[in-house]
């Protein structure tokens, strides 16, 4: 493919691509906090069948691949968990109404996005971004409230569909989880690595230890570099993971 000439309108177009991608990820963060997962998948994620097939959501414990699985986990399982939590709360507190409006009651998620780094492909059709996310998650249980700091690295591939940027591959690597007020020095450190386990009930297409902060900074996902077309860069989907590229673990 011929490298695109960077005329003035292409250059300002690329600047706007970056701003639009920042907006897109900001919306992702707020929709997630607002429990608007279905809306998020419908509005912000890829819609074309060929892109939905290869869409992925990766975390420490592996990858969900394909919009069907992502929706099953991100929307359906999320509602199931909310209902299970609400059932327990209502059992312990009969004054609490078990109704749809109370799904998620006492829960609070804030995955802040900072430190944006975004590369637009030379051909303008895809982009890659990395953010650092200082976050907190809070859940209410019958006997306590779990308030947790959760610090993560986000690495995202974006693709343009009909002139609009969409999330294509999303990877979130959790660096640490710390209870609010907890002493990090008292968290146990295993003598040998212990694999991360996906949450109960989550359907994982490719279970693997995709990310760890055991050795501090993880070189995966790679920091995006300037690139011309998507085939030349390292995907933030499972195909870009060095262990999968090698065909399995050592």
């Amino acid at each position: 493919m011929t490298k695109q000439v960077m005329t003035d309108d292409v250059r300002i177009g690329r600047v706007w691509d970056i701003l639009e991608i920042k907006n897109l990820m900001g919306r992702h963060a707020y929709y997630h906090a607002y429990d608007m997962h279905a809306e998020e998948l419908d509005e912000l994620w890829v819609q074309k069948p060929e892109n939905q097939k290869s869409a992925s959501f990766g975390q420490n414990w592996g990858y969900q691949v394909g919009m069907g699985i992502i929706r099953k986990n991100y929307v359906d399982l999320n509602i199931k968990w909310h209902q299970e939590d609400l059932d327990k709360l209502c059992d312990a507190d009969p004054s609490l109404e078990n109704c749809p409006e109370n799904l998620g009651i006492g829960s609070m998620l804030m995955h802040i996005l900072s430190t944006p780094y975004i590369e637009i492909a030379g051909d303008g059709q895809t982009a890659q971004g990395m953010w650092y996310s200082p976050g907190q998650v809070t859940f209410a249980y019958p006997d306590k409230v779990n308030a947790l700091w959760m610090y993560e690295k986000y690495a995202v591939d974006f693709i343009k569909e009909d002139g609009e940027w969409k999330i294509w591959h999303l990877f979130v690597g959790t660096d640490f989880i710390l209870g609010v007020g907890e002493d990090m020095t008292k968290q146990p450190v295993s003598d040998t690595p212990v694999p991360d386990q996906e949450p109960e009930g989550m359907d994982i297409t490719i279970p693997m230890q995709a990310y760890t902060s055991r050795y501090n900074w993880s070189p995966y996902p790679a920091i995006p570099r300037p690139y011309e077309t998507f085939g030349e860069t390292i995907s933030n989907g499972p195909e870009g993971h060095q262990e999968l590229q090698k065909g399995g673990k050592d």
Binding site: L19, K22, Y30, M110, E164, V180
Partner: protein, 242 residues
Amino acid sequence: MINYTTEQLVKRWEDYNEIENIMGRLTYNEIVKKSDYIWDTFWCKNMPDPCLGFNNGYYKGYDAIGEYYSALKDLDIIKAKVAQKIHPEELGSVAPEDIRGVGGINVLNFTTPVIELAADGKTAKGMWYLMGGSGDFYTEEGPRGTNRWGRVAVDFIREDTGWKIWHMLVVLDIDSKMGSNWADTAGKIVDPTYKKITEFSMPAPNVPQNVYELYHSRRRIKAFPKVPRPYTTFSTTFSYGV
């Protein structure tokens, strides 16, 4: 989707940069306790209905918002006097106004931006996650670090002197002592050394409302404030004011 010309896109970028810079300048001027400068410089002058909203209501109109920022300055000076009383040798020789903000820092970190400029270029809307934190030796409890996390949503208006804040809504989910679970509802332990600070109260919002609740274990998820959407002109979108 509107196709802007190259020149329009450049102008819109310049507007975006100015708006993002306003929020950054708010951060750094707040750190150095220039509440009067913030009110004079970054807020609109020509709109009929500026609004500053918090969890417990809105300050609506120039008088109410001006009083709010003036009260922040008053509190700083009370704290400076308390500091002078505790540290007369180091701080006693200057006027309290000259050491305004002593022993404290309040950082409003704006992150996770969603910024939409109206197609007509006259207004803009922005939303940020606020990752706030303060360390203050002079609170009613004595030295206290505080986490303040929430969302800030702003309507901006273009005036002759540049982009200005028109409506600003600051809603907190978390307002709690650093190192403490925000679900802990135990009250503050007031220290009589800081009595003058305890006795001070900010003016109440002139439009009191339960706008938003701090986190508690029976709080429902609320999709508020609304996330900005692309829009053509302000009358076609929602307002962050009241």
